[in-house]
C-alpha cells in the first residue's frame, strides 16, 4: 500500500506493507539516526516526533502515520547540536546509541513543560533507557541546557 508521509518537512509517498512498523520505513528511507533497539517498546532508542510528540517508532504502524509529520534527528540538526553539546560536556554520551531518541524527547519536553523540576525531567525522560551513563550526567546536562537557554 502507498502512504503519504511528511518526513523531516519533506512530503513523501512511500510504498509499505500494512504490517510494517514506522521504524523500518524510516530507516529504509535514510533516517538511520532512528535506532533499532529493544524492538519491544521498552528502550526509547527508536523515538521520533510524530506531530511534535515523541512516540516509539518500533511500536507504531507506518500505515497509522499516514498524513502525519515526522521529525527525526536528520530533520532537527540545529537543535540536536545545541542539546548534544551539553550532553557531551557533562559526560552524558558514551556508546551514543540512546542519544537520538533522548534528544528528540528533550525537544518535546521543552515544548510541553514550562520550567520543569528535576523530578519532572526524569519522569518525562524515563522512557529513554541508557545502559552506559546511569542517567546522572543526562539529567545534569539537560538541566544546564534548560537553564542556560532561558
Amino acid at each position: 500500500m502507498k502512504i503519504k508521509l511528511k518526513i523531516n518537512n519533506q512530503d513523501k509517498i512511500i510504498d509499505i506493507r500494512p504490517d510494517e512498523m514506522l521504524l523500518e520505513v524510516l530507516r529504509k528511507n535514510g533516517c538511520l539516526s532512528v535506532k533499532h533497539g529493544c524492538d519491544t517498546g521498552s528502550c526509547g532508542a527508536c523515538t521520533v516526533l510524530l506531530d511534535e510528540k515523541p512516540i516509539l517508532s518500533c511500536s507504531y504502524l507506518a500505515a497509522k502515520a499516514e498524513g502525519h509529520s515526522i521529525i527525526t534527528v536528520e530533520g532537527a540538526q540545529k537543535k540536536v547540536e545545541q542539546i548534544s553539546k551539553y550532553l557531551v560536556d557533562e559526560g552524558g554520551v558514551q556508546c551514543g546509541f540512546c542519544i537520538p531518541g533522548l534528544v528528540l524527547t528533550v525537544m518535546s519536553m521543552e515544548k510541553e513543560l514550562n520550567n520543569p523540576s528535576e523530578e519532572e525531567i526524569t519522569h518525562y525522560l524515563s522512557g529513554n533507557l541508557c545502559r552506559c551513563t546511569g542517567y546522572s550526567s543526562h539529567t545534569r546536562a539537560i538541566k544546564k541546557y534548560l537553564e542556560e537557554k532561558k
Partner: protein, 262 residues
C-alpha cells in the same frame, strides 16, 4: 504479526461492518502492543478518523473517547481533578511518555491485559464501557465477557468517591508486579481491586465486607490488607513469585486505605 490489509473507516458503521464481516479482523487502537503479537490479522481497523479522542464532562459523568491516548488521560485537567487523580496516577508510570502517546484508552481496556494499571484503577469507580451495538456495559462485565463490538467511549459517574492507586515495579518503567486500587463511597463502603497478580484485576470482597463493619483506623487497614492477601489468588511469573505478590498485597491494600482516610 501479519496484517493483510489496513483500513481507516470514515464512519463507525463502516468499522463495525468490517469487524463483523471479515474473519480475523481487529480494531487496532493505538497498535502499541501489536508488534509483540503473533496474530494474523485480515483487516486491521484504525479508528483514527472517527473523532473518538476526547475527554469531557457532563453534570454526572466524565466521558473518555476510545482513541484518547494514555498520555492525554495522564495530563488532562478533568482526569486529574476527580477521584484524587486516580486515573492519571495509575497511568503515569506505564513505560514512557512515548508509549503513552501511542496506547489508547479503548485499546488498554479491550486488550484486557493482566498487567493493566488502568483497568485496576477504573474497576473501583462506577465505570461503564459504551459499545457501538451493545450500548452501555459495566466495566467488570466487559472484562469478563467477549464482545465482537467497538468501544466508543467509557463513562465514569462523578459520585464523590475518594480513591487511591498503588503499584510496585521492578524498575520505574516496567509493568507492575502488583497493582491495587481502593475507593471509598460517601456511604463508607469500599471497593478494593487487585491486579497484575499477574492476572487481571479482581475484587477483594471479604476485605471490602470487613471494612464496612469497622472504623477507619490504621490497624483495620492492615487487617483488611491481610484479608485481601488471603482471599485473592496470586501466581508466579518472571516478574515475581506468588508469595512475594501476596506479601505486597497486604502492604499496598493497607497503604491505599490509609491514604484514603488521611
Amino acid at each position: 504479526m501479519i496484517i493483510d490489509e489496513y483500513k481507516k473507516p470514515q464512519t463507525i458503521e463502516e468499522a463495525y461492518s468490517i469487524l463483523t464481516t471479515k474473519k480475523n479482523s481487529q480494531i487496532i487502537g493505538g497498535g502499541a502492543y501489536l508488534r509483540l503479537s503473533k496474530k494474523h490479522i485480515s483487516s486491521a481497523i484504525d479508528l483514527s478518523n472517527l473523532k473518538l479522542d476526547f475527554i469531557s464532562e457532563t453534570d454526572d459523568y466524565i466521558e473518555i473517547g476510545a482513541m484518547t491516548t494514555l498520555r492525554e488521560l495522564e495530563i488532562n485537567e478533568i482526569t486529574k481533578k476527580y477521584f484524587n487523580g486516580i486515573i492519571s496516577n495509575s497511568i503515569r508510570n506505564i513505560v514512557g511518555v512515548q508509549l503513552r502517546n501511542i496506547a489508547t484508552t479503548g485499546g488498554a481496556i479491550s486488550g484486557k491485559f493482566g498487567f493493566s494499571d488502568l483497568i485496576t484503577a477504573l474497576s473501583v469507580l462506577d465505570c461503564k464501557v459504551i459499545l457501538y451495538k451493545a450500548g452501555a456495559v459495566k466495566l467488570v462485565d466487559f472484562i469478563n465477557q467477549k464482545y465482537n463490538d467497538i468501544v466508543e467511549k467509557i463513562i465514569i459517574r462523578k459520585n464523590n468517591q475518594i480513591a487511591d492507586f498503588q503499584a510496585i515495579r521492578n524498575t520505574k518503567t516496567d509493568y507492575a508486579i502488583l497493582n491495587v486500587a481502593v475507593s471509598k463511597h460517601t456511604n463508607n463502603s469500599y471497593k478494593i481491586a487487585v491486579g497484575a497478580r499477574p492476572g487481571i484485576a479482581i475484587f477483594a470482597v471479604k476485605a471490602e465486607g470487613f471494612l464496612k463493619t469497622v472504623d477507619s483506623s490504621k490497624e483495620n487497614a492492615e487487617k483488611a490488607g491481610l484479608i485481601a492477601s488471603q482471599e485473592i489468588k496470586f501466581t508466579s511469573n518472571f516478574r515475581a513469585s506468588a508469595e512475594y505478590r501476596q506479601e505486597l498485597c497486604k502492604v499496598l491494600v493497607s497503604r491505599a486505605i490509609c491514604n484514603i482516610n488521611k
